[in-house]
Amino acid sequence: MQANSYDVVVVGSGAGGGMAAYMLTRAGARVVVLEAGPLWWPEEDSAMWTWNYQSARRGGGTRLRPFGEFDAGDGGWDIEGEPYTRAPGTTFDWYRGRMLGGRTNHWGRISLRFGPDDFRRRSLDGLGDDWPIGYHDLKPFYDQVDRLIGIFGSVEGLPNEPDGIFLPPPEPRCWEHLVQGASDRIGLTCIPSRLSILTTPHNGRPACHYCGQCNRGCKANANFSSPGVLLRPAMETGLLTIIPLAMAREVVTRPDGRARGVGYIDKTTGEDRMVEGRVVVLAASACESARMLLNSKSSRHPNGLANGSGVVGKYLTDTVGADMGAYLPRMEEWVPHNCDGVGGAHKYMPWTTDNRKLDFPRGYHIEIWGGHGMPGAGAMGGIQNYPVGGGYGQPLKDAYRKYYGTMIGFSGRGEQIPNEDCWCEIDPKVVDQWGIPVLRFHWKWAEHEIRQARHMQQTFAALIEQLGGTPLWSAGAESDWGIAAGGRIIHELGTVRMGDDPDTSVVDRWCRAHEVPNLFVADGGPFVSQADKNPTWTILALSMRTSDHIAQAMKRGEL
């Protein structure tokens, strides 16, 4: 096997890998990034401003792009030739990005910091575990991420919802004003969203032009995606090599136990290849990085690399999700105007309730959606749930006109506590088309999460009642209150856990493998817990901190 040599090998080009490439090239290191999908640059490849009617599919989802054919996200829960399996009786749906920038291309840009309490939940309520680091360790890096990437929001001073360095938030849309009022009346907290979308020019990138299509990728680079904001400047240093269509398979080690490099399959030829580096950084996604470690077996590491603790693959979590949509008669006969806005809600509801008064231990935030968006392949579905009750012909056509844009909805996104029933391992029989053993998932929501989903549904119903609306669907005990299947919210975390004790964790407080001194993990794998916040901003801050640590250690000649 021929191997090219670099200072640092990074596996994955999303939030974690993109940040590592950015930081380490700036520190003067020669970096190679392996990406399992093709190159994709938003300035060139985005479908921004395409009309859905430019396609016979009207923008509907495909196997490669489950969120729509014009969505930027190549990948999905079901990738041809790359299966995964589930233990009998369990459901976990594993979303994988397969493109430069990974899942930073299609995400909601909800960029929340974890709060001080989120790093020490066991100390507070005895459940889960504390992180080996605290908010004060990450705060300087959150600040740097804010300054580098750009984020809008408002300074609120709320407990456990740390403020950042914000650009001004955009004015709310019509229905967001209504939701604000309803939220105020029932004692919830509704504040401007915190999204990594530019409302003023920032670091050479222009401000948002409010077409609402962040999920298609932004040709202007006015939002955050790894290729446009991190990898492009990293390329400009001349120190970054990106190898696309490179399916990383294992971390190759030297006789002394240190990482030598990464073995991968060139998807264009099917050949086995390898790149070498003084340092290896895994940022392939929590589960893909765990898979690589478990597949890096040798006589020296019979349970997989860095897995003396047996913890690799354990403590898998996702975000708890439940949703409710409603018909709002007040939104009928609107004054037509362009209400696209940014690619996401302009308001959200952070968790400010005391769980000690409730029958479940952790919180959730609420996202708001709806209104008069661009009609696409799912437009105006479920007309039978509106007062017209169904029908056809001219009365139906008029009913559609009347009800267009009158649906708004809420999505609860809550914290799952790691439990022993949720984990992944290598399937003993199944390989993917490259011959790489695949992951087998085990999953079970605990009562904590199901009760949280019930509380979400009750809160949504209360908000909708305040708004004078009618729920368009409901979920009760028979469906565990509409809780989404594991993996559906695409916030997989925890499978390469961080800790000070090598017997109970895989990586240390710098995200360095306890057992392999030049191997680091820079994705969601090291997270000790979820939070009632989306994880991307914390992945970025952690990767920045880890990369900074690597750069300093390299300067000192320690790596």
């Binding site: 009207r58 032009h209 007040r330 940014v342 437009a379 105006m380 169904g390 056809y392």
Partner: protein, 195 residues
């Protein structure tokens, strides 16, 4: 034909100028509607058989007819959208649609000895009246109701996402906005957010 049938027929007929027209003119309109559907055009259906294709086109225009403000589902190439979705879709969805069309024809044959596409418009509307409102449909027709609900959703999605549909709804976005100013004052006043 009772008054309700007449209203339904008028609703389904893609010629709004006919409101208040004579029986002869009505008949002419119905013939024209059938004639427009009978012309298969240049599109070659990928999923539907020729007989299914005729029914799909007919149903689509019965669900969303042409009126003074915009064209019909057929004008918006909705049947082509549905055919594409199904040709590329999953087997369960394909079976549900194909089976639903077969259910419809069998139900029509048992009532009137002809498949849906060969019925008079008044009988077609009688059939649709029985399955187009789930809450008041007879439980014995539940499979037909489920099919029609699914089919109507496809027609709506195809129509309102078309250029014709987007223009009809007054959607003004998908463009460059130099300065975002939020919800305009007249709308805020209408919603009661601002006095």
């Amino acid at each position: 034909m009772d008054r309700r049938d007449l209203l339904r027929l008028l609703a389904a007929t893609p010629f709004p100028v006919l409101l208040g027209a004579s029986p002869a003119a009505l008949e002419q309109a119905v013939r024209a509607a059938h004639a427009s559907v009978a012309d298969p055009g240049r599109y070659q259906a990928r999923f539907f058989t020729p007989a299914e294709w005729e029914t799909v086109r007919l149903l689509a225009d019965l669900i969303i007819p042409r009126d003074e403000r915009s064209g019909s589902a057929g004008d918006a190439m909705v049947p082509e959208f549905i055919d594409t979705l199904l040709a590329e879709g999953e087997e369960a969805q394909q079976t549900a649609l194909r089976g639903g069309l077969a259910w419809l024809d069998r139900e029509c044959r048992s009532r009137w000895e002809n498949p849906f596409r060969m019925l008079s418009v008044s009988r077609q509307t009688t059939m649709l009246d029985a399955i187009a409102w789930p809450a008041r449909a007879h439980p014995a027709l539940s499979q037909g109701v489920a099919f029609f609900t699914r089919f109507r959703d496809l027609v709506a999605a195809g129509f309102w996402s078309s250029r014709i549909g987007v223009d009809d709804l007054g959607y003004q976005g998908n463009t460059f906005v130099a300065q975002w100013t939020g919800c305009p004052d007249p709308q805020l006043r209408k919603l009661g957010v601002r006095p």
